[in-house]
Amino acid sequence: MLSIQNLRAEVDGKEILKGLTLDVPAGEVHAIMGPNGAGKSTLSYVLTGRDGYEVTGGGATLDGEDLLALEPNERAAKGVFLSFQYPLEIPGVPALTFIRTALNAQRKARGEAEITAPEFLKLARATAASLKIDFGMLKRSLNVGFSGGEKKRMEIFQMAMLQPRFLILDETDSGLDIDALKIVSEGVNALRSPERAMLVITHYQRLLDYIKPDRVHVLSAGRIVASGGPELALELEREGYDKYARAA
Protein backbone atom coordinates (compact mmCIF):
# COMPACT_ATOMS: atom_id res chain seq x y z
CA MET A 1 0.00 0.00 0.00
CA LEU A 2 2.16 2.90 1.24
CA SER A 3 5.86 2.65 0.72
CA ILE A 4 8.27 5.38 1.78
CA GLN A 5 11.86 5.11 0.63
CA ASN A 6 14.70 7.11 2.15
CA LEU A 7 12.55 10.24 2.20
CA ARG A 8 14.25 13.57 2.78
CA ALA A 9 12.35 16.82 3.16
CA GLU A 10 13.05 20.32 4.33
CA VAL A 11 11.04 23.24 5.63
CA ASP A 12 12.40 26.74 5.18
CA GLY A 13 15.73 25.27 4.14
CA LYS A 14 15.99 23.16 7.28
CA GLU A 15 16.13 19.40 6.79
CA ILE A 16 13.48 17.72 8.94
CA LEU A 17 13.07 14.28 7.37
CA LYS A 18 16.50 12.74 7.01
CA GLY A 19 16.10 9.54 5.04
CA LEU A 20 12.91 8.00 6.34
CA THR A 21 11.95 4.51 5.22
CA LEU A 22 8.63 2.90 6.07
CA ASP A 23 6.23 0.35 4.58
CA VAL A 24 2.59 0.08 5.54
CA PRO A 25 0.96 -2.86 3.74
CA ALA A 26 -2.77 -2.94 3.01
CA GLY A 27 -4.83 -4.21 5.92
CA GLU A 28 -2.36 -3.01 8.57
CA VAL A 29 -2.32 -0.31 11.19
CA HIS A 30 1.04 1.20 12.02
CA ALA A 31 1.66 3.55 14.91
CA ILE A 32 4.32 6.23 14.91
CA MET A 33 5.58 7.56 18.20
CA GLY A 34 8.41 9.94 18.82
CA PRO A 35 9.53 13.02 20.70
CA ASN A 36 8.21 16.51 20.02
CA GLY A 37 9.78 18.02 16.95
CA ALA A 38 10.91 14.65 15.57
CA GLY A 39 9.14 15.26 12.25
CA LYS A 40 5.89 13.30 12.64
CA SER A 41 3.59 16.08 11.46
CA THR A 42 6.13 16.97 8.79
CA LEU A 43 5.85 13.42 7.46
CA SER A 44 2.05 13.72 7.33
CA TYR A 45 2.28 17.04 5.44
CA VAL A 46 4.84 15.73 2.99
CA LEU A 47 2.62 12.73 2.26
CA THR A 48 -0.37 15.01 1.66
CA GLY A 49 1.48 17.66 -0.34
CA ARG A 50 1.46 20.79 1.76
CA ASP A 51 3.19 23.83 0.27
CA GLY A 52 6.50 24.70 1.85
CA TYR A 53 7.48 21.09 2.54
CA GLU A 54 10.12 20.43 -0.03
CA VAL A 55 11.10 16.89 -0.86
CA THR A 56 14.85 16.78 -1.46
CA GLY A 57 15.39 13.05 -1.76
CA GLY A 58 13.77 9.64 -1.75
CA GLY A 59 10.13 9.02 -2.53
CA ALA A 60 6.76 7.66 -1.53
CA THR A 61 4.32 5.52 -3.46
CA LEU A 62 0.74 4.47 -2.87
CA ASP A 63 -0.03 1.14 -4.52
CA GLY A 64 3.05 1.66 -6.66
CA GLU A 65 2.02 5.12 -7.86
CA ASP A 66 4.31 8.09 -7.17
CA LEU A 67 2.35 9.92 -4.50
CA LEU A 68 4.62 12.93 -4.34
CA ALA A 69 3.97 13.89 -7.98
CA LEU A 70 0.26 14.43 -7.33
CA GLU A 71 -1.59 17.57 -6.26
CA PRO A 72 -3.00 17.44 -2.71
CA ASN A 73 -6.56 17.04 -4.02
CA GLU A 74 -5.47 14.26 -6.37
CA ARG A 75 -3.93 12.41 -3.43
CA ALA A 76 -7.21 12.87 -1.56
CA ALA A 77 -9.13 11.42 -4.50
CA LYS A 78 -6.77 8.43 -4.41
CA GLY A 79 -7.95 7.92 -0.86
CA VAL A 80 -5.30 9.61 1.26
CA PHE A 81 -6.84 11.27 4.30
CA LEU A 82 -5.06 13.25 7.00
CA SER A 83 -6.74 13.89 10.32
CA PHE A 84 -4.93 17.13 11.20
CA GLN A 85 -3.16 17.66 14.50
CA TYR A 86 -4.60 21.19 14.34
CA PRO A 87 -7.72 21.21 12.13
CA LEU A 88 -8.31 24.48 10.29
CA GLU A 89 -11.38 26.71 10.55
CA ILE A 90 -13.36 27.36 7.38
CA PRO A 91 -15.44 30.46 8.09
CA GLY A 92 -18.78 30.79 6.32
CA VAL A 93 -18.83 27.23 5.00
CA PRO A 94 -21.20 24.93 6.91
CA ALA A 95 -19.56 21.60 7.77
CA LEU A 96 -22.14 19.64 5.76
CA THR A 97 -21.73 21.82 2.69
CA PHE A 98 -18.00 21.44 2.91
CA ILE A 99 -18.06 17.67 3.21
CA ARG A 100 -20.58 17.23 0.42
CA THR A 101 -18.48 19.46 -1.85
CA ALA A 102 -15.36 17.49 -0.95
CA LEU A 103 -17.05 14.13 -1.43
CA ASN A 104 -18.39 15.11 -4.84
CA ALA A 105 -15.05 16.56 -5.89
CA GLN A 106 -13.40 13.25 -5.03
CA ARG A 107 -16.07 11.28 -6.83
CA LYS A 108 -15.73 13.47 -9.87
CA ALA A 109 -11.96 13.01 -9.88
CA ARG A 110 -12.50 9.23 -9.79
CA GLY A 111 -15.08 9.36 -12.57
CA GLU A 112 -17.94 8.39 -10.23
CA ALA A 113 -21.42 9.90 -10.11
CA GLU A 114 -22.17 12.65 -7.60
CA ILE A 115 -23.98 11.72 -4.41
CA THR A 116 -27.54 13.03 -4.40
CA ALA A 117 -28.65 15.42 -1.67
CA PRO A 118 -31.03 12.91 0.00
CA GLU A 119 -28.42 10.13 -0.11
CA PHE A 120 -25.86 12.46 1.39
CA LEU A 121 -28.15 13.61 4.19
CA LYS A 122 -29.07 10.07 5.07
CA LEU A 123 -25.43 9.07 5.23
CA ALA A 124 -24.55 12.16 7.27
CA ARG A 125 -27.32 11.52 9.79
CA ALA A 126 -26.33 7.90 10.29
CA THR A 127 -22.63 8.77 10.58
CA ALA A 128 -23.27 11.62 13.01
CA ALA A 129 -25.39 9.32 15.16
CA SER A 130 -22.71 6.64 15.28
CA LEU A 131 -20.09 9.19 16.32
CA LYS A 132 -22.49 10.88 18.76
CA ILE A 133 -22.15 14.20 16.96
CA ASP A 134 -25.02 16.64 17.34
CA PHE A 135 -26.45 17.16 13.86
CA GLY A 136 -26.86 20.88 14.58
CA MET A 137 -23.10 21.21 14.79
CA LEU A 138 -22.82 20.12 11.17
CA LYS A 139 -24.79 23.14 10.08
CA ARG A 140 -22.30 25.53 11.65
CA SER A 141 -19.24 26.85 9.83
CA LEU A 142 -16.69 24.05 9.83
CA ASN A 143 -14.60 24.11 13.00
CA VAL A 144 -15.32 27.79 13.68
CA GLY A 145 -15.69 28.16 17.41
CA PHE A 146 -15.49 24.38 17.93
CA SER A 147 -13.59 23.16 20.97
CA GLY A 148 -10.35 21.26 20.44
CA GLY A 149 -12.09 17.93 21.03
CA GLU A 150 -15.02 18.85 18.78
CA LYS A 151 -12.60 19.62 15.97
CA LYS A 152 -11.01 16.19 16.35
CA ARG A 153 -14.43 14.56 16.25
CA MET A 154 -15.21 16.49 13.10
CA GLU A 155 -12.03 15.09 11.55
CA ILE A 156 -13.26 11.58 12.21
CA PHE A 157 -16.72 12.48 10.96
CA GLN A 158 -15.20 13.67 7.69
CA MET A 159 -13.09 10.56 7.51
CA ALA A 160 -16.13 8.33 8.01
CA MET A 161 -18.02 10.24 5.31
CA LEU A 162 -15.19 10.23 2.79
CA GLN A 163 -14.24 6.57 3.34
CA PRO A 164 -10.54 7.00 2.51
CA ARG A 165 -8.20 4.10 1.80
CA PHE A 166 -5.07 5.36 3.48
CA LEU A 167 -5.57 7.17 6.77
CA ILE A 168 -3.08 9.30 8.64
CA LEU A 169 -4.17 10.26 12.13
CA ASP A 170 -1.92 12.97 13.54
CA GLU A 171 -2.50 13.04 17.30
CA THR A 172 -6.21 12.60 16.86
CA ASP A 173 -6.36 11.53 20.51
CA SER A 174 -5.00 14.76 21.94
CA GLY A 175 -7.78 16.96 23.24
CA LEU A 176 -10.35 14.16 23.41
CA ASP A 177 -12.08 13.29 26.64
CA ILE A 178 -12.24 9.63 27.70
CA ASP A 179 -15.67 8.96 26.20
CA ALA A 180 -14.80 10.75 22.98
CA LEU A 181 -11.58 8.77 22.69
CA LYS A 182 -13.61 5.60 22.74
CA ILE A 183 -16.18 6.81 20.23
CA VAL A 184 -13.51 8.14 17.88
CA SER A 185 -11.54 4.90 18.12
CA GLU A 186 -14.63 2.90 17.25
CA GLY A 187 -15.11 5.16 14.24
CA VAL A 188 -11.55 4.51 13.16
CA ASN A 189 -11.78 0.76 13.78
CA ALA A 190 -14.94 0.62 11.68
CA LEU A 191 -12.77 1.62 8.74
CA ARG A 192 -10.24 -1.14 9.26
CA SER A 193 -10.37 -3.47 6.31
CA PRO A 194 -8.06 -5.58 4.14
CA GLU A 195 -8.09 -2.84 1.48
CA ARG A 196 -7.20 -0.02 3.84
CA ALA A 197 -4.18 0.93 5.88
CA MET A 198 -3.51 3.46 8.61
CA LEU A 199 -0.69 5.46 10.07
CA VAL A 200 -1.52 6.48 13.62
CA ILE A 201 0.68 9.19 15.13
CA THR A 202 0.34 9.45 18.88
CA HIS A 203 2.17 10.21 22.09
CA TYR A 204 0.03 7.93 24.21
CA GLN A 205 -0.22 4.21 24.58
CA ARG A 206 -3.86 4.60 25.60
CA LEU A 207 -5.04 5.26 22.03
CA LEU A 208 -3.31 2.05 21.01
CA ASP A 209 -5.41 0.13 23.55
CA TYR A 210 -8.38 1.06 21.39
CA ILE A 211 -6.82 1.12 17.95
CA LYS A 212 -4.56 -1.92 18.07
CA PRO A 213 -1.54 -1.46 15.84
CA ASP A 214 0.15 -4.21 13.89
CA ARG A 215 3.48 -2.39 14.07
CA VAL A 216 4.92 0.44 16.14
CA HIS A 217 7.71 2.71 14.89
CA VAL A 218 9.83 5.26 16.66
CA LEU A 219 10.46 8.42 14.67
CA SER A 220 13.33 10.43 16.06
CA ALA A 221 15.22 13.30 14.41
CA GLY A 222 13.68 12.66 11.01
CA ARG A 223 14.21 8.89 10.78
CA ILE A 224 12.54 5.68 11.83
CA VAL A 225 15.02 4.49 14.45
CA ALA A 226 13.19 1.45 15.81
CA SER A 227 10.26 -0.74 14.85
CA GLY A 228 8.48 -3.52 16.66
CA GLY A 229 5.17 -5.02 17.65
CA PRO A 230 2.59 -3.45 20.00
CA GLU A 231 4.88 -4.19 22.96
CA LEU A 232 7.23 -1.43 21.74
CA ALA A 233 4.59 1.17 22.64
CA LEU A 234 4.42 -0.21 26.16
CA GLU A 235 8.17 -0.07 26.48
CA LEU A 236 8.21 3.56 25.28
CA GLU A 237 5.51 4.43 27.77
CA ARG A 238 7.72 3.02 30.56
CA GLU A 239 11.12 4.17 29.44
CA GLY A 240 10.64 7.21 27.21
CA TYR A 241 12.67 8.08 24.13
CA ASP A 242 16.05 8.56 25.82
CA LYS A 243 17.86 5.69 24.23
CA TYR A 244 16.41 6.43 20.76
CA ALA A 245 17.29 10.10 20.99
CA ARG A 246 20.90 9.03 21.52
CA ALA A 247 20.70 6.46 18.78
CA ALA A 248 19.57 9.17 16.36
Partner: protein, 343 residues
Protein backbone atom coordinates in the same frame (compact mmCIF):
# COMPACT_ATOMS: atom_id res chain seq x y z
CA UNK B 1 -24.85 67.88 -7.29
CA UNK B 2 -21.74 68.46 -9.32
CA UNK B 3 -21.87 65.28 -11.37
CA UNK B 4 -25.46 65.92 -12.45
CA UNK B 5 -24.74 69.53 -13.43
CA UNK B 6 -21.58 68.55 -15.29
CA UNK B 7 -23.54 66.00 -17.31
CA UNK B 8 -26.44 68.34 -18.03
CA UNK B 9 -24.14 71.18 -19.09
CA UNK B 10 -21.81 68.79 -20.91
CA UNK B 11 -19.00 70.42 -18.94
CA UNK B 12 -16.35 68.01 -17.63
CA UNK B 13 -14.65 70.78 -15.66
CA UNK B 14 -17.51 70.60 -13.17
CA UNK B 15 -16.81 66.95 -12.35
CA UNK B 16 -15.27 66.11 -8.98
CA UNK B 17 -11.52 65.52 -9.12
CA UNK B 18 -8.86 64.06 -6.89
CA UNK B 19 -8.42 67.50 -5.37
CA UNK B 20 -11.79 67.01 -3.68
CA UNK B 21 -10.91 65.12 -0.51
CA UNK B 22 -13.96 62.83 -0.71
CA UNK B 23 -13.19 61.96 -4.33
CA UNK B 24 -9.45 61.59 -4.20
CA UNK B 25 -9.56 57.88 -5.02
CA UNK B 26 -12.31 58.25 -7.62
CA UNK B 27 -11.11 60.98 -9.91
CA UNK B 28 -13.69 61.71 -12.62
CA UNK B 29 -12.27 64.98 -13.89
CA UNK B 30 -8.94 63.39 -14.74
CA UNK B 31 -10.65 60.42 -16.41
CA UNK B 32 -13.19 62.26 -18.54
CA UNK B 33 -11.68 65.01 -20.69
CA UNK B 34 -14.87 65.15 -22.72
CA UNK B 35 -18.39 64.01 -21.97
CA UNK B 36 -20.47 62.07 -24.49
CA UNK B 37 -23.72 63.60 -25.82
CA UNK B 38 -27.00 63.34 -23.95
CA UNK B 39 -28.63 59.93 -24.04
CA UNK B 40 -31.38 59.39 -26.58
CA UNK B 41 -34.67 57.72 -25.73
CA UNK B 42 -34.49 54.06 -24.76
CA UNK B 43 -37.21 51.67 -25.91
CA UNK B 44 -38.45 50.25 -22.61
CA UNK B 45 -40.34 47.36 -24.18
CA UNK B 46 -37.04 46.03 -25.53
CA UNK B 47 -35.41 45.64 -22.09
CA UNK B 48 -34.48 42.14 -20.97
CA UNK B 49 -36.07 40.64 -17.87
CA UNK B 50 -34.95 42.18 -14.58
CA UNK B 51 -33.08 40.28 -11.86
CA UNK B 52 -35.90 40.76 -9.36
CA UNK B 53 -38.98 40.52 -11.60
CA UNK B 54 -40.34 37.61 -9.60
CA UNK B 55 -40.23 39.57 -6.35
CA UNK B 56 -41.83 42.86 -7.32
CA UNK B 57 -45.29 44.21 -8.11
CA UNK B 58 -44.12 47.09 -10.24
CA UNK B 59 -41.01 48.27 -12.08
CA UNK B 60 -39.78 51.82 -12.63
CA UNK B 61 -37.17 52.33 -15.31
CA UNK B 62 -34.80 55.26 -15.47
CA UNK B 63 -33.02 55.60 -18.80
CA UNK B 64 -32.60 57.97 -21.73
CA UNK B 65 -35.96 59.70 -22.30
CA UNK B 66 -37.18 58.53 -18.87
CA UNK B 67 -35.10 60.60 -16.50
CA UNK B 68 -37.31 60.90 -13.44
CA UNK B 69 -39.38 58.66 -11.21
CA UNK B 70 -41.49 59.32 -8.18
CA UNK B 71 -42.40 56.60 -5.78
CA UNK B 72 -44.85 57.23 -2.97
CA UNK B 73 -45.93 54.59 -0.52
CA UNK B 74 -48.94 55.80 1.44
CA UNK B 75 -49.06 55.50 5.26
CA UNK B 76 -49.22 51.86 6.37
CA UNK B 77 -48.84 50.73 2.76
CA UNK B 78 -46.69 47.85 1.67
CA UNK B 79 -44.87 47.49 -1.61
CA UNK B 80 -42.09 45.65 -3.41
CA UNK B 81 -40.75 47.66 -6.34
CA UNK B 82 -37.96 47.44 -8.85
CA UNK B 83 -36.01 50.47 -9.94
CA UNK B 84 -33.89 49.80 -13.00
CA UNK B 85 -31.34 52.37 -14.09
CA UNK B 86 -30.38 51.51 -17.64
CA UNK B 87 -27.36 52.92 -19.52
CA UNK B 88 -27.35 52.36 -23.28
CA UNK B 89 -24.82 53.61 -25.80
CA UNK B 90 -22.00 56.13 -25.53
CA UNK B 91 -24.03 58.84 -23.85
CA UNK B 92 -24.37 61.03 -20.79
CA UNK B 93 -27.37 60.28 -18.64
CA UNK B 94 -28.55 61.98 -15.49
CA UNK B 95 -31.57 60.56 -13.72
CA UNK B 96 -33.39 61.23 -10.49
CA UNK B 97 -35.81 59.30 -8.33
CA UNK B 98 -37.65 60.38 -5.23
CA UNK B 99 -38.98 57.78 -2.86
CA UNK B 100 -41.30 58.74 -0.04
CA UNK B 101 -42.38 56.07 2.40
CA UNK B 102 -45.28 57.12 4.60
CA UNK B 103 -45.79 56.57 8.31
CA UNK B 104 -45.67 52.90 9.19
CA UNK B 105 -45.33 51.87 5.53
CA UNK B 106 -43.00 49.16 4.30
CA UNK B 107 -41.03 49.14 1.08
CA UNK B 108 -38.70 46.65 -0.51
CA UNK B 109 -36.78 48.43 -3.19
CA UNK B 110 -34.78 46.38 -5.69
CA UNK B 111 -32.48 48.67 -7.57
CA UNK B 112 -30.35 47.53 -10.48
CA UNK B 113 -27.78 49.39 -12.53
CA UNK B 114 -27.63 47.88 -15.99
CA UNK B 115 -25.01 49.06 -18.42
CA UNK B 116 -23.99 47.88 -21.85
CA UNK B 117 -20.47 47.66 -23.29
CA UNK B 118 -20.24 51.27 -24.43
CA UNK B 119 -18.50 54.23 -22.81
CA UNK B 120 -21.48 55.78 -21.07
CA UNK B 121 -21.44 58.19 -18.16
CA UNK B 122 -24.44 57.86 -15.90
CA UNK B 123 -25.44 59.69 -12.77
CA UNK B 124 -28.35 58.71 -10.58
CA UNK B 125 -29.65 60.82 -7.72
CA UNK B 126 -32.03 59.24 -5.26
CA UNK B 127 -33.91 60.96 -2.50
CA UNK B 128 -35.35 58.53 -0.03
CA UNK B 129 -37.52 59.76 2.80
CA UNK B 130 -38.85 57.51 5.57
CA UNK B 131 -41.57 58.88 7.77
CA UNK B 132 -42.29 57.76 11.35
CA UNK B 133 -41.94 54.04 11.77
CA UNK B 134 -41.48 53.38 8.04
CA UNK B 135 -39.30 50.46 6.99
CA UNK B 136 -37.27 50.20 3.82
CA UNK B 137 -35.02 47.44 2.62
CA UNK B 138 -33.02 48.59 -0.38
CA UNK B 139 -31.09 46.08 -2.41
CA UNK B 140 -28.79 47.33 -5.11
CA UNK B 141 -27.10 45.25 -7.79
CA UNK B 142 -24.70 47.23 -9.93
CA UNK B 143 -23.92 45.48 -13.21
CA UNK B 144 -22.03 47.98 -15.29
CA UNK B 145 -20.01 47.38 -18.43
CA UNK B 146 -16.21 47.49 -18.62
CA UNK B 147 -16.22 50.95 -20.23
CA UNK B 148 -19.05 52.47 -18.22
CA UNK B 149 -18.79 55.24 -15.66
CA UNK B 150 -21.47 55.38 -13.00
CA UNK B 151 -22.11 57.62 -10.04
CA UNK B 152 -25.07 56.83 -7.84
CA UNK B 153 -25.81 59.13 -4.93
CA UNK B 154 -28.60 58.37 -2.52
CA UNK B 155 -29.71 60.80 0.13
CA UNK B 156 -31.71 59.08 2.86
CA UNK B 157 -33.55 60.76 5.68
CA UNK B 158 -35.34 58.97 8.46
CA UNK B 159 -37.96 60.00 11.00
CA UNK B 160 -38.33 58.47 14.46
CA UNK B 161 -38.47 54.66 14.70
CA UNK B 162 -37.87 54.27 10.98
CA UNK B 163 -35.79 51.33 9.79
CA UNK B 164 -33.57 51.57 6.77
CA UNK B 165 -31.60 48.56 5.59
CA UNK B 166 -29.43 48.51 2.52
CA UNK B 167 -27.28 45.98 0.69
CA UNK B 168 -25.24 47.17 -2.25
CA UNK B 169 -23.51 44.56 -4.40
CA UNK B 170 -21.30 45.63 -7.23
CA UNK B 171 -18.95 44.24 -9.84
CA UNK B 172 -17.52 47.70 -10.52
CA UNK B 173 -17.10 49.58 -13.78
CA UNK B 174 -14.44 51.55 -15.57
CA UNK B 175 -15.06 53.97 -12.75
CA UNK B 176 -17.94 53.69 -10.35
CA UNK B 177 -19.07 55.35 -7.18
CA UNK B 178 -22.02 54.17 -5.12
CA UNK B 179 -22.66 56.68 -2.39
CA UNK B 180 -25.23 56.71 0.38
CA UNK B 181 -25.71 59.58 2.77
CA UNK B 182 -28.03 59.11 5.72
CA UNK B 183 -29.47 61.69 8.08
CA UNK B 184 -30.14 59.71 11.22
CA UNK B 185 -32.46 61.28 13.78
CA UNK B 186 -31.64 58.82 16.57
CA UNK B 187 -35.09 58.36 18.11
CA UNK B 188 -35.07 54.54 17.93
CA UNK B 189 -34.49 54.67 14.21
CA UNK B 190 -32.10 52.06 12.89
CA UNK B 191 -29.88 51.85 9.88
CA UNK B 192 -28.08 48.94 8.30
CA UNK B 193 -25.69 49.77 5.47
CA UNK B 194 -24.06 46.76 3.92
CA UNK B 195 -22.08 46.30 0.77
CA UNK B 196 -20.02 43.88 -1.21
CA UNK B 197 -17.70 44.40 -4.14
CA UNK B 198 -16.45 41.69 -6.48
CA UNK B 199 -13.90 43.22 -8.79
CA UNK B 200 -11.81 41.73 -11.55
CA UNK B 201 -9.82 42.96 -14.58
CA UNK B 202 -9.26 46.72 -14.37
CA UNK B 203 -12.51 47.49 -12.69
CA UNK B 204 -13.01 50.14 -10.06
CA UNK B 205 -15.68 50.50 -7.40
CA UNK B 206 -16.04 53.06 -4.67
CA UNK B 207 -18.50 52.43 -1.86
CA UNK B 208 -18.91 55.59 0.13
CA UNK B 209 -21.29 56.06 3.03
CA UNK B 210 -21.94 58.93 5.38
CA UNK B 211 -24.22 58.59 8.40
CA UNK B 212 -24.96 61.59 10.56
CA UNK B 213 -26.40 60.72 13.96
CA UNK B 214 -28.28 63.85 14.99
CA UNK B 215 -30.33 62.69 17.96
CA UNK B 216 -30.41 60.48 21.01
CA UNK B 217 -30.76 56.73 20.73
CA UNK B 218 -30.02 55.65 17.21
CA UNK B 219 -28.35 52.57 15.81
CA UNK B 220 -26.22 52.00 12.74
CA UNK B 221 -24.72 48.72 11.72
CA UNK B 222 -22.49 48.47 8.72
CA UNK B 223 -20.73 45.56 7.06
CA UNK B 224 -18.85 45.85 3.80
CA UNK B 225 -16.87 43.00 2.33
CA UNK B 226 -15.13 42.60 -0.94
CA UNK B 227 -12.68 40.80 -3.16
CA UNK B 228 -10.38 42.26 -5.74
CA UNK B 229 -8.26 40.41 -8.25
CA UNK B 230 -6.26 41.17 -11.40
CA UNK B 231 -5.67 44.94 -11.48
CA UNK B 232 -8.95 45.89 -9.89
CA UNK B 233 -9.27 48.65 -7.34
CA UNK B 234 -11.81 49.04 -4.56
CA UNK B 235 -12.46 52.00 -2.34
CA UNK B 236 -14.37 51.97 0.89
CA UNK B 237 -15.07 55.26 2.60
CA UNK B 238 -17.32 54.93 5.60
CA UNK B 239 -17.96 57.92 7.76
CA UNK B 240 -20.15 57.94 10.82
CA UNK B 241 -20.64 61.26 12.54
CA UNK B 242 -22.18 61.34 15.99
CA UNK B 243 -23.19 64.91 16.60
CA UNK B 244 -23.13 66.62 19.94
CA UNK B 245 -26.00 65.41 22.11
CA UNK B 246 -26.61 62.26 20.04
CA UNK B 247 -26.14 60.13 23.14
CA UNK B 248 -26.90 56.40 23.32
CA UNK B 249 -25.85 56.04 19.73
CA UNK B 250 -24.82 52.52 18.82
CA UNK B 251 -22.70 52.50 15.68
CA UNK B 252 -20.73 49.60 14.29
CA UNK B 253 -18.76 49.53 11.09
CA UNK B 254 -16.85 46.68 9.55
CA UNK B 255 -14.94 46.56 6.30
CA UNK B 256 -13.09 43.42 5.29
CA UNK B 257 -11.36 42.82 2.00
CA UNK B 258 -9.55 40.00 0.28
CA UNK B 259 -6.85 40.85 -2.19
CA UNK B 260 -6.29 38.00 -4.62
CA UNK B 261 -3.51 39.42 -6.75
CA UNK B 262 -0.39 41.52 -6.35
CA UNK B 263 -1.67 44.21 -8.62
CA UNK B 264 -5.12 44.62 -7.11
CA UNK B 265 -5.66 47.38 -4.61
CA UNK B 266 -8.03 48.30 -1.80
CA UNK B 267 -8.14 51.71 -0.21
CA UNK B 268 -10.18 52.02 2.95
CA UNK B 269 -11.01 55.02 5.03
CA UNK B 270 -13.27 54.20 7.95
CA UNK B 271 -14.02 57.28 10.01
CA UNK B 272 -15.89 57.59 13.27
CA UNK B 273 -16.28 61.24 14.22
CA UNK B 274 -17.78 61.29 17.68
CA UNK B 275 -18.90 64.48 19.36
CA UNK B 276 -21.11 62.93 22.03
CA UNK B 277 -20.02 61.25 25.27
CA UNK B 278 -22.35 58.37 25.91
CA UNK B 279 -22.01 56.29 22.77
CA UNK B 280 -21.04 52.80 21.73
CA UNK B 281 -19.01 52.84 18.57
CA UNK B 282 -16.71 50.31 17.06
CA UNK B 283 -15.08 49.72 13.76
CA UNK B 284 -12.98 46.99 12.28
CA UNK B 285 -11.05 47.04 9.05
CA UNK B 286 -9.05 44.15 7.65
CA UNK B 287 -7.41 43.65 4.30
CA UNK B 288 -5.68 40.37 3.60
CA UNK B 289 -5.09 37.41 1.36
CA UNK B 290 -6.87 34.06 1.37
CA UNK B 291 -5.87 31.78 4.22
CA UNK B 292 -3.38 29.40 2.58
CA UNK B 293 -3.56 26.92 5.47
CA UNK B 294 -7.33 26.70 5.09
CA UNK B 295 -6.84 26.20 1.35
CA UNK B 296 -4.48 23.29 1.95
CA UNK B 297 -6.94 21.76 4.40
CA UNK B 298 -9.70 21.98 1.78
CA UNK B 299 -7.49 20.49 -0.90
CA UNK B 300 -6.53 17.66 1.45
CA UNK B 301 -10.22 16.84 1.54
CA UNK B 302 -10.34 16.64 -2.24
CA UNK B 303 -11.28 20.10 -3.46
CA UNK B 304 -9.30 21.27 -6.48
CA UNK B 305 -7.53 24.54 -5.82
CA UNK B 306 -9.81 26.77 -7.90
CA UNK B 307 -12.89 25.27 -6.30
CA UNK B 308 -11.42 25.68 -2.82
CA UNK B 309 -10.58 29.32 -3.49
CA UNK B 310 -14.04 30.01 -4.91
CA UNK B 311 -15.72 28.40 -1.92
CA UNK B 312 -13.67 30.45 0.56
CA UNK B 313 -14.29 33.69 -1.31
CA UNK B 314 -17.99 33.01 -1.72
CA UNK B 315 -18.32 32.24 1.98
CA UNK B 316 -16.41 35.40 2.82
CA UNK B 317 -18.67 37.65 0.79
CA UNK B 318 -21.75 35.56 1.55
CA UNK B 319 -21.96 37.01 5.05
CA UNK B 320 -23.25 40.21 3.45
CA UNK B 321 -26.03 38.36 1.60
CA UNK B 322 -26.95 36.55 4.83
CA UNK B 323 -27.78 39.88 6.46
CA UNK B 324 -30.51 40.66 3.93
CA UNK B 325 -33.73 40.50 5.92
CA UNK B 326 -36.01 39.49 3.06
CA UNK B 327 -35.23 35.82 2.65
CA UNK B 328 -36.62 35.60 -0.88
CA UNK B 329 -34.15 38.30 -1.96
CA UNK B 330 -31.10 36.44 -0.67
CA UNK B 331 -31.21 33.78 -3.35
CA UNK B 332 -30.98 36.03 -6.44
CA UNK B 333 -28.29 38.06 -4.67
CA UNK B 334 -26.25 34.95 -3.83
CA UNK B 335 -26.68 33.68 -7.37
CA UNK B 336 -25.49 37.01 -8.75
CA UNK B 337 -22.44 36.91 -6.48
CA UNK B 338 -21.62 33.32 -7.43
CA UNK B 339 -21.90 34.16 -11.12
CA UNK B 340 -19.51 37.10 -10.75
CA UNK B 341 -17.00 35.03 -8.79
CA UNK B 342 -17.08 32.21 -11.30
CA UNK B 343 -16.37 34.40 -14.33
Amino acid sequence: MTVATALKANDPTQLPSKRDEDWRWTDLRGLLRVLPPQAGAVELAALPAGAFDALVEQTHVLAGGHEAAQIVIPPDGKAALALRIVSRGEASLSVRATVRVGTGAKLRLFETYEGDASAYVTHAALDIVLEDGAAVERIVLAADGDEGVLVSQAQVSLAAKAEFGQTVITAGARRQRLETSVDHPGAHASVRLDGAYLLAAKRHADLTTIVRHQGVDGATSQLTKGVVRDQARAIFQGRIVVEEGADQTDARMGHHALILSDQAEVDAKPELLIHADDVQCAHGNTIGALDEDALFYMRQRGLPETEARALLVEAFVGEVADRILNEAAREPVRAWIAERLAS
